[in-house]
């Protein structure tokens, strides 16, 4: 009986530890948000920011302000992916636009 209780307590502690290792922290959010902002700034220098990047960054900030760092990190990562897609678009269109030109 004592062994069983001890095992249960140890298992609970292990599970709790494992869960906290995967939960996002404020620092995780700050890092993810900074990466997204940097990518969006680069898109801005290419004159090609997307409105959805801005709204997703705002959603990330809002989630962080309410203490939901899991959601905040997820939103920041999505914003970074959107910003990177806009950079890719701007870069590839530098030559690709000619395909559509009427001649």
């Amino acid at each position: 009986m004592r062994n069983t209780v001890l095992k249960s307590v140890l298992t609970a502690l292990l599970v709790a530890g494992a869960t906290s290792a995967f939960a996002a922290s404020e620092d995780d959010f700050k890092a993810a948000y900074a990466a997204a902002e940097a990518a969006n700034k680069e898109a801005g220098s290419l004159r090609n920011q997307w409105t959805t990047t801005a709204s997703t960054l705002a959603a990330a900030k809002k989630a962080a302000d309410s203490g939901d760092f899991d959601h905040a990190v997820a939103q920041a990562k999505e914003a970074e992916a959107l910003a990177k897609a806009s950079i890719f678009q701007a870069t590839s269109e530098k030559e690709r636009w000619k395909n559509m030109e009427i001649r």
Binding site: R47, N48, Q49, W50, F88, E93, R96
Partner: protein
């Protein structure tokens, strides 16, 4: 990664992949020949819509659809831009606080000159649009500039367009490499895909004029600026060329630039040049 974060990242990755394979890369000629461009541009539209007279293109979606054309004819009996036009006429003749007026800033006192805008200013080395010239006139005379997108600016440009009705667009490209560069940049902007929806101006106004996008009929790019400014039912009010460009960008989920950013000035230069010869029909009304 949790499911709720995995889905958006995957969707962004998919968007990237679609962008990568949207169109095959093809080598293109790099010579800039505006006159040849304008000929090819007009030929494209007259071949695509052989029943239309060239001057009909300035009526935008109304030229593309018979029912809409009938609606437009009825609308023109009591045009929705009339109030703005009247306001513009009054504003144009009213002196500034220093006693001068808009008439002092423009050739021919500002009457019947719309078809010459935008022009390339060789002193500045940039394109000057009518909207920009109007605000510069205000500021030079100690008045605060107007918003570029609607209301007062739309009223002023409506009046100036009205005094040029029927006059063909006459945009010049001077022998200045900077003018040719501005034209080319405008063309590049027109054909460049942007925004999360991955649309260029050409996606709607070259590939799909006459087609519907939701409830709207898309206008042809040829003559698209001749009717500016316009009263749009969708806006419940008047809008300038700047308003059209900025809202086009936001509709495709791109962050709009400042209303008179160099890119938009160049775009207006290009689009106006390729419509040379077509009559000014502004102010206009659109659904």
């Amino acid at each position: 990664m949790k499911p709720r974060s995995a889905i958006p990242v995957a969707s962004a990755a998919l968007a990237l992949a679609l962008l990568a394979f949207a169109t095959p890369p093809v080598a293109a000629a790099d010579t800039v020949d505006p006159a040849a461009d304008a000929r090819a541009f007009k030929k494209f539209f007259t071949d695509k819509f052989p029943k239309l007279k060239p001057e009909d293109f300035v009526n935008g979606p109304y030229s593309m659809n018979e029912d809409l054309h009938k609606q437009w004819e009825e609308k023109e009996q009591f045009p929705p831009y009339e109030f703005s036009l009247e306001a513009g006429k009054e504003m144009f003749s009213k002196p500034f606080k220093n006693g001068k007026s808009y008439q002092d800033c423009f050739p021919n006192k500002g009457i019947g000159i719309r078809q010459n805008y935008p022009y390339f200013d060789e002193k500045e080395g940039k394109v000057v649009t009518l909207e920009l010239a109007l605000n510069r006139c205000r500021e030079a005379n100690g008045e605060a500039p107007f918003s570029y997108v609607k209301d007062d600016m739309a009223a002023l440009t409506a009046y100036m367009a009205f005094t040029s009705r029927g006059k063909p667009f006459d945009i010049k490209i001077p022998k200045d490499p900077r003018a040719l560069e501005a034209y080319q940049k405008g063309k590049e902007y027109f054909y460049t895909r942007r925004g999360q929806l991955n649309f260029s101006c050409a996606t709607c106004h070259i590939q799909s004029p006459g087609e519907r996008i939701r409830a709207e009929v898309l206008a042809p790019a040829l003559g698209i600026l001749n009717a500016m400014p316009i009263y749009r039912s969708e806006w419940s009010g008047m809008g300038t060329t700047s308003r059209r460009f900025t809202t086009c960008n936001s509709q495709i989920r791109g962050v709009p630039l400042d209303p008179q950013a160099d890119e938009y000035r160049d775009l207006e230069y290009y689009l106006s040049y390729v419509s040379n010869g077509l009559p000014i029909s502004g102010p206009g009304a659109r659904p």
